[in-house]
C-alpha cells in the first residue's frame, strides 16, 4: 500500500433519523490512523465518537446510518463492501472492544467458547483441541490467571477486569491490524484501568497493530495515545500529536478540557468547568459549534464554520484564532502537566 495509514476516514457523515428530526452525529470527520500507532478520539458523551467507531465497524443500528464519506482500510472502502466482505474483515483485520464488559459478553455462553468463536468464524481453527489451546494461550497472554480453568467459566463468574481481558483476548486472537476500543476502561476501577491500558499498549507494540481508543478521559489518552483527535458536537475540532496537544492546545474547547482536569494539590473549590452545555445535535448552531460556550467567540464565529487549520507541523485546529497569540495562553494552560 502506498499510504502510511492503515485507516483513513474521509469526510464521514453519519446521522440518526429520529422521529423528532435528523440528528447529525458525525459531521464530515477526517481521521487517519498510521500503522502501528495508538490514536485517541476524545470528547464528551454524545459528541459522536462512538458513532464514528460504529460507522467503521458497520455496527450502526436503525435509525442511524452513514450518509456519505469514505472509510478506507488498506485501500478498500469499507462503506461500499458487501455484508459478506465486511464480515471477513471484522474480527480478523479489525476488531473491537466495548465499554461494558459485563453486557458485552453473552451471559449464557462460556467465555472460552466466545473467544474460540472468532477463530471458527474465520475458519482458522483446525481442530477443537488446537482452537482450545490457542484460546488458552491467548488468555495467558492477556494475563488471565488459571487460563485453563477460566476457559469454561461463564461471564458472571469473572470480575470486571477479567471480563475486559477476555474481551481483549477475543479481539486480539487473530492479530488484527486495527483494534477499536470504545471506552475500554470506563466501567473499571482505576487500578484495573491502568493494568488494562498497559496490556493494550504492550500488545500493540508486540504485534505492530494500530489502536483507536475512544474515550472521554484525558487521563487515558495521556497514558497510552501517540496522537489525539478531539471531537465536539460531531466535528473534529483539533488533532495533534499527544505532547503537542497537551502542551499547546489551540482550540478553546481542548483548552477547556485540559483546564477541567482536577489536579492533586489544586484547590478543588476552583475546579474549572466549561460553561454551558453541549448543543442539541438536532439544532446545531450556525457557525462554530463551540461558539455558544466559547468566551473568545466573536461575531464571525457564530456565522461561519471555521476550517481545520494547520497550526504546527502535524497540529490542526478548527478555530479562527488557532494561530497567533492564543497559543501562548495554551502554554499557560498546559503548564503543570507532563
Amino acid at each position: 500500500m502506498s499510504s502510511d495509514y492503515l485507516l483513513e476516514i474521509e469526510d464521514l457523515h453519519t446521522s440518526i433519523y429520529t422521529d423528532d428530526g435528523v440528528l447529525r452525529a458525525v459531521n464530515g470527520v477526517n481521521l487517519r490512523i498510521p500503522k502501528g500507532t495508538i490514536v485517541g478520539l476524545v470528547g464528551e458523551s454524545g459528541c459522536g465518537k462512538s458513532m464514528t467507531a460504529r460507522s467503521i465497524m458497520r455496527l450502526l443500528r436503525h435509525p442511524a446510518r452513514i450518509d456519505s464519506g469514505r472509510i478506507l482500510f488498506g485501500g478498500k472502502d469499507l462503506t461500499t463492501l458487501t455484508d459478506k466482505e465486511m464480515r471477513e474483515i471484522s474480527g480478523r483485520d479489525i476488531s473491537m472492544i466495548f465499554q461494558e464488559p459485563m453486557t458485552s459478553l453473552n451471559p449464557v455462553l462460556k467465555v472460552g467458547f466466545q473467544v474460540e468463536e472468532t477463530l471458527r468464524v474465520h475458519g482458522l481453527a483446525a481442530s477443537k483441541e488446537e482452537a482450545k489451546r490457542k484460546v488458552i494461550e491467548m488468555f495467558e497472554r492477556v494475563g488471565i490467571p488459571e487460563a485453563e480453568k477460566r476457559y469454561s467459566a461463564y461471564p458472571h463468574e469473572l470480575s470486571g477486569g477479567l471480563r475486559q481481558r477476555v474481551m481483549i483476548a477475543m479481539a486480539m486472537i487473530l492479530k488484527p491490524k486495527l483494534l477499536i476500543a470504545d471506552e475500554p476502561t470506563t466501567a473499571l476501577d482505576v487500578t484495573i484501568e491502568a493494568q488494562i491500558l498497559r496490556l493494550m499498549r504492550d500488545l500493540c507494540k508486540e504485534s505492530g497493530m494500530s489502536v483507536l481508543i475512544i474515550t472521554h478521559n484525558l487521563g487515558v489518552v495521556a497514558e497510552i495515545c501517540e496522537y489525539v483527535y478531539v471531537m465536539y458536537a460531531g466535528y473534529i475540532v483539533e488533532h495533534a500529536p499527544i505532547f503537542d496537544l497537551f502542551d499547546y492546545p489551540r482550540h478553546p474547547y481542548t483548552k477547556g478540557l485540559m483546564a477541567s482536569i482536577p489536579r492533586i494539590g489544586g484547590n478543588p473549590e476552583y475546579l474549572y468547568t466549561i460553561p454551558g452545555v453541549v448543543p442539541n445535535l438536532l439544532h446545531l448552531p450556525e457557525g462554530c459549534p463551540f461558539s455558544l460556550r466559547c468566551s473568545a467567540a466573536e461575531e464571525e464565529c457564530r456565522k461561519t464554520l471555521p476550517e481545520l487549520v494547520r497550526t504546527d507541523e502535524d497540529h490542526f485546529s478548527r478555530c479562527v484564532k488557532a494561530c497567533g497569540e492564543q497559543s501562548l495562553e495554551g502554554r499557560a494552560y498546559g503548564a503543570g502537566r507532563e
Binding site: E88, G91, R92, E100, L105, P107, V121, Y154
Partner: protein, 306 residues
C-alpha cells in the same frame, strides 16, 4: 441435582394442598354419593352398608387421610357410573391425551417460535404485523371455535383429514392444531418481544464485530437468551392445554382424560371427576418442575446460584 431435590420437596405442600382442595370441594356437594350410586330403589340397610364400605361414616379428617393414602397407592376409588376403578379408566384414557398434548405442544413450539423469530427479525415491517396480528387473533379465539373452524375447512370442505378421532395419529392432527393454536399465539408474542430485546443487547455487537453472520448472531447468541422466559411460558401453557384438551376431546370425540372429565360432570360421577382433576393438576405441577430444570440447564447463572 440439589436444586431439583429442593424443588421436589417444595412441591409436597402444593401437592397436598391440591388434594385437600379437591377433597373439600367435592365433600360440600349436596346429595349423598350413596344415593347417586344406588339410584332410586334401595333400603335403609343397603345405605348403611354402603356408607360404611365407602368410609363415609368416619370423621371427615380420617376420610381425607384414607383418600390420601389411597392416592399414594394408586387407588382413586370406584367410578359410580362406570363401576370400574377410576385409576384404570384414567390409565386407558391417558395415552390419547398425552399424545394430543405432545402434538399440540410441538405445533405451538414450531409455529410460535418460528413466527416469533421472523417477526422479531422483520421488526415493524409487514411480516411482523401480519404474524403478530395472527397471534393476537390466536389467543383471542376460544379452542372450540378454532376446532369447529378446522373441522369445517379441512374435514368438511377439503375432506383432507377425519372429522373425529379413530385412534390414528392422522385423526389427531386437527385436534392438536386446534389445541396448540392458543399457545402458539402466546409463544410467538413472547418469543418476538424477548428476541427484540436480546437483539438490542451489547453482546450482539460483540458477536457481529467478530464477523459472525446474521444467522449465527440470531441463532447462536440472541435466541438462546430469549428462550428462557418462553420455556417458563410453555410450562404455564401446559395448564391451559389441559383445559383445552377437555374441549378438543369433546369436539373430536377423542377418548381421553378431558372426555372423562366432561362425562364425569354430566353423570355427576364424583370419584372420576376427582381423579381426572387430580391427574391433570399433577401433570401441570411436574411440567413446571421440568421447565425449571430446563431453565437451569440453559441459564448458567441460575445453575451456579442453586
Amino acid at each position: 441435582m440439589k436444586s431439583v431435590m429442593k424443588r421436589l420437596i417444595g412441591m409436597i405442600p402444593v401437592f397436598i394442598g391440591v388434594m385437600l382442595l379437591i377433597f373439600v370441594l367435592l365433600r360440600v356437594v349436596p346429595g349423598d354419593p350413596v344415593q347417586v350410586l344406588l339410584g332410586e330403589h334401595y333400603s335403609q340397610d343397603t345405605i348403611d352398608r354402603l356408607t360404611k364400605a365407602m368410609n363415609l361414616d368416619k370423621p371427615v379428617f380420617e376420610q381425607f387421610l384414607l383418600y390420601l393414602s389411597g392416592v399414594f397407592h394408586g387407588d382413586l376409588g370406584m367410578s359410580y357410573v362406570m363401576k370400574k376403578p377410576v385409576t384404570s379408566l384414567i390409565m386407558e384414557a391417558l395415552p390419547q391425551t398425552v399424545i394430543l398434548a405432545l402434538m399440540a405442544s410441538t405445533f405451538a413450539w414450531f409455529v410460535g417460535i418460528g413466527s416469533g423469530i421472523i417477526a422479531a427479525i422483520k421488526q415493524n415491517k409487514a411480516p411482523d404485523h401480519i404474524f403478530m396480528g395472527f397471534s393476537l387473533a390466536g389467543i383471542s379465539v376460544p379452542v372450540f371455535m378454532s376446532a369447529l373452524f378446522l373441522q369445517y375447512v379441512f374435514s368438511f370442505k377439503l375432506k383432507l383429514l377425519p372429522l373425529s378421532s379413530d385412534g390414528s395419529l392422522k385423526s389427531l392432527i386437527l385436534p392438536a392444531i386446534a389445541l396448540g393454536w392458543n399457545s402458539a399465539g402466546s409463544v410467538a408474542r413472547l418469543t418476538r418481544s424477548n428476541l427484540v430485546d436480546a437483539l438490542q443487547a451489547d453482546y450482539i455487537d460483540t458477536a457481529k464485530a467478530k464477523g459472525l453472520t446474521n444467522r449465527a448472531v440470531i441463532f447462536g447468541h440472541a435466541l438462546r437468551n430469549s428462550m428462557l422466559p418462553v420455556i417458563t411460558l410453555m410450562a404455564i401453557q401446559l395448564s391451559s392445554m389441559m383445559s383445552g384438551a377437555v374441549v378438543t376431546e369433546s369436539i373430536f370425540a377423542i377418548p381421553g382424560v378431558g372426555r372423562l372429565a366432561t362425562n364425569a360432570i354430566q353423570t355427576r360421577d364424583m370419584p372420576l371427576l376427582q381423579g381426572t382433576v387430580l391427574l391433570t393438576t399433577v401433570m401441570v405441577i411436574f411440567g413446571s418442575l421440568l421447565a425449571d430444570i430446563l431453565y437451569s440447564v440453559i441459564d448458567p447463572r441460575i445453575r451456579r446460584e442453586a
